[in-house]
């Protein structure tokens, strides 16, 4: 047993030696749903794991009221979010928050059924020749440009599974648009997954997390409605999701029934 443990450690050291380098990619995220907010995303990829950090942009946080249009805008203050795809253990761990409270959300690796473009279409992003692929995932349709010459099957956020690094990806409504801004191969800076544990986050399943968000949203709208005069209705679509993920698998199943 002792020997076995030693062997494991040796193996780890060996493999660590063999693969010191990771790829660190910086993306610009244009989140157009939120008033053209630009965010920085840094993704660290090893060959079988990725860790993305989306930096909060709090330029727009606060409450604005507008008497001309009779509207009230409540923009919550944001904090950084993380997503990590782990192909060894087949799971995704994310750190996300509700009202500034962090949650650690673990889900089994979701299926990303990429369709490669049949056209002979390539796009040159800087010096990288990129191929096109399509993905329909959790309510959005994406177009991705990836390069097989950087051999990691990742991209920003939870994206994984293409034969190469994603340099640009956007949904067809262009609500979320990630574009690469920098690629580096630092010597250190391993995909340090312990950062996820340092976020002081409560463990939760994805489904519970989504349900909690919906609950908070209902409470929020109810509070807005309480000051509105009689006959005021909430416009249809006001409470539609605007997050990256719009429909979850269990919700889609429910609909199909």
């Amino acid at each position: 047993m002792k020997n076995f443990a030693l062997a494991i450690i040796l193996l780890f050291v060996f493999s660590a030696n063999a693969q010191v380098k990771n790829v660190v990619i910086e993306y610009n995220l244009n989140a157009s749903n939120e008033n053209y907010v630009q965010k920085k995303v840094v993704t660290i990829c090893a060959k079988n794991t990725s860790l993305s950090k989306t930096y909060a942009n709090n330029a727009k946080a606060g409450i604005q009221t507008d008497e001309n249009t009779n509207s009230i805008n409540v923009t919550e203050k944001e904090i950084d979010t993380y997503e990590s795809v782990d192909l060894v253990n087949n799971r995704v761990i994310a750190i996300d928050n509700i009202k500034n409270k962090n949650f650690k959300i673990t889900e089994p690796l979701p299926v990303m059924d990429w369709k490669l473009s049949k056209d002979n279409e390539v796009k040159k992003i800087d010096t990288f020749i990129c191929s096109k692929a399509f993905l329909s995932f959790r309510g959005r349709n994406y177009i991705a440009w990836y390069t097989p010459y950087i051999a990691v099957p990742f991209g920003p956020w939870k994206f994984y599974g293409l034969p190469g690094l994603i340099l640009e990806i956007y949904d067809t409504n262009n609500n979320y648009h990630w574009t690469v801004s920098k690629i580096s191969y630092p010597l250190t800076n391993n995909a340090d997954l312990t950062v996820l544990d340092k976020q002081n986050a409560k463990d939760i399943t994805l489904k519970d997390f989504v349900e909690e968000i919906e609950k908070q949203k209902q409470i929020m709208y109810a509070r807005i409605m309480k000051v509105m005069p009689r006959g005021t209705t909430m416009e249809k679509g006001t409470d539609n999701r605007t997050s990256v993920e719009l429909v979850y698998e269990w919700e889609a199943e429910k609909k199909n029934k």
Binding site: N73, V74, A151
Partner: protein, 893 residues
Amino acid sequence: MSIKHIPIIFFLLAQIITTSSLYSQTSVTGVVRDKDSNPISFTNVFIKLKSSNSIKAYTRTSKDGSYVLNIEEPGSYEISFTALLYKEALFQISVETGKKYVQNAILQDETTFLDEVVIKTEKPITVKSDTIVINAKAFAQGNETVVEDLLRKIPGLNISENGTIKVGNKEVEKVMIAGDDFFEHGYKLLTKNLNASTVDKIEIYKRYSNNRLLKNIENSDKVAINLTLKDDIKSQWFGNMSVGYGVASENRYDVRTNLMSFDKKAKFYLLGNLNNVGVDAVGDIDYIIRPVNSDGISSIGDDENSETLLSLDSSKPNLKEERTNFNNAELVSLNSIFTITSKIKLKIIGFFNSDKNDFYRKAIDEYSFENTMFSNFEDYNLNKKKKIGFGKINFNYDISNNESFEYISKYSSEIRNTHTNLIFNEEKSREKLHEETEFIDQKAVYTNRFKSNKVLIFTGRLISEKTPQNYYNNVFLFEDLLPDGTNADNLAQNSNDQMNFFGFETHFFDKKEKGNLLEFKAGYENRRDYFNSKLEFLENNNTIASPADYSNQIKFGTQDLYFKSKYNYFFRKFVIEAKVELHQLFSDLKTSEIDQNNNNFFINPSFVLSWEINKNNKVSTSFSYNTTNSKILDVYNGYVLTSYKSFQKGTGQFNQLQSQVLFVRYGLGNWESKFSSNASIYYYKNFDFFSTNSEIQPSYSKLEKIIIKNRSMFRADADISYFFSSIKSNLKIDANYSKSNYKNIVNNSELREVKSEVLVPGIQMRSNFKGFLNYHIGSKWTINKITTSIVNKNTDNLTFFDLLLSFTKDFNAEIQAERYYFGNLNVQDNKYYFLDISSNYKLKKDKVSLSLSANNLFNTKTFRQTYISDVLTSKTEYRILPRYILFKIDYRF
């Protein structure tokens, strides 16, 4: 330890078995190793057709370095192996259907690495400080029909189901076409109808100012959208039409049509409305005629109107206007904008409206005051015909980058003819009232931004309006007023107020650091009124008498030289707004009795302080001291008939009245708290005010304005609300209380004190379910008490229950039920019920929609309401539009 892995291995095996059995097509297998023969996991394996860039199939190696790649079609391929830290390996492979191939690879270490690559990419959207320019072509997908569809494709614009456009979370102020705007907040008319293919670029302006030269000087967070049109588009007419017709009820209709045509040089918008469902058609174009100007810029003269005293349809019930408005409205409006050069624009707006209204009421007025008691009964049947013509010209000249000039000219003419059938205490009479209003308004505005943070606006304005009224009653009701020995059997009154106004103003803005804004205005206003009225007692259309104290020949002028200054100051959690107005007023009044000149100087200061103590506690307070001047309706000295049985007159002299207002508000809680509460107090003190000295007889009443010292009014409002998460509903309880004390004189009494108290408590519950159903239920009481030597009391209640149903995305319905209760009425007729249902169905997206609205389903035909004052309690009965069901179809062409 190894037991743990069994399921995984089993799973992998199972997967391999299933894949190989399912896809018995062509496959390539193999193992990838490094130079030391160690297997490399997570190697990218992909194939391309030779001389092609497109990847046909790909996979990854598993832990042991092995891979299986399935290929759908035969051909000459290149198979590539790439892995992090290794050089790419590439092999040629010819694939035939059904065969299996093996391709192993050994990858060499990658030794040369670029440490860092900085990537430059083009941005899909240009963002220039506060303007975002979006190329429509880049986002159009070809299936857009109207602009709204196109805007839905634009990132960052959120368009709700009903067409509200938001940039991020903020609703847009307006949607312009090449910088021009017809619709203001009614922009949906445009975005739901304009053909998407005509749009070239979409520009989003943040921190938008209506006057372009005030950008970043005004504290604005408005957002506007501008659509630029393609150069080559030809103007074509487009629009929509909505036709509603009453089914299962008497003839009811509601027809609306909008027609538009735009090109670079000229833009047209035509609108028509015909209805007899109680809707005032002019409401449709209100925003075109009178664009909202809440910022007080160039607003000199906005409040100047000539006055009328006689009104036959003043009393309206406390109900939605549509319920009692028996009408027949027709409206046609043509609006156009011409771009003469890139700097000169001309906007011409005109409309014509005609309306016929019928109105019915029956009332019993029980007078009771100072030992006098009597009752009056009236049955009133009113028929009004109205015609309005309106024209407006806007001329805009952008002189240079920091200078602009605007000239606006308006003309309107309105003719109203009212006929009534009146039964007053069993006496039948017929009234006729002919009214004509003519209004001419001209304004010129010059703006100069002479420094980047300083702007000067010069405004000049000229207004003239006259409002003649000719009244006739075929029965003479005022025997007491006749000189002895004469006899009259009918009566006429002619009156007119001719008002002329002119004024100039200079408005200066200075934006300081940190957003503090200093503003001041200096100006001169001159208003002159010529008010004439004459009452004539007639017998067989011959004038018998025309009493002097029932006529007026008033000349009244005021000239106001003023300086107004305002400063907004932000300091930590405090916002302070201080205002001061200095006026030098010259007035001259000439009546039959006096010729008076006055010269007054006065100061009106006001002060607002708001303090955000913390996220949950906010306090704001304001104080102002006001001096107001007599208006034309306060200074005339002869009695004027104001309804078939009442006369009124002013004080006969010029006065100034002093008052002060104090306001304090406290708010607890914010958007995130389940519990929130607000409380405010308002105290209004008049040091002098206009009260009345009235003579009330069964057959008529005479009111004279008098000035009395000291009136006070107090008002308190409070509400609390709590959100119950368990039932997803919000409970709100609110109450307001007001009390006022003043004095008046009735029938030569002493000055008598009148105390009036109103208490309005209410409770409501509102759901916020996610499903297809939502409710809103509530009740409100109005408790009124007026105390003189006797006490008049009244309690009314309104209870409502609304249900909102949305069955599908395209089909929704709304049910509204109301119950009115009047405490002062008899038990058998003190409750009234209304039920209205409306539903909408989208038959064809963006093209055809259907709606069905059922109004007054309980078919309540009359409505009684009570009213109390310091001299009477009144019970009034109104006629209500009977039940009707309107089927409407909306079609876009």
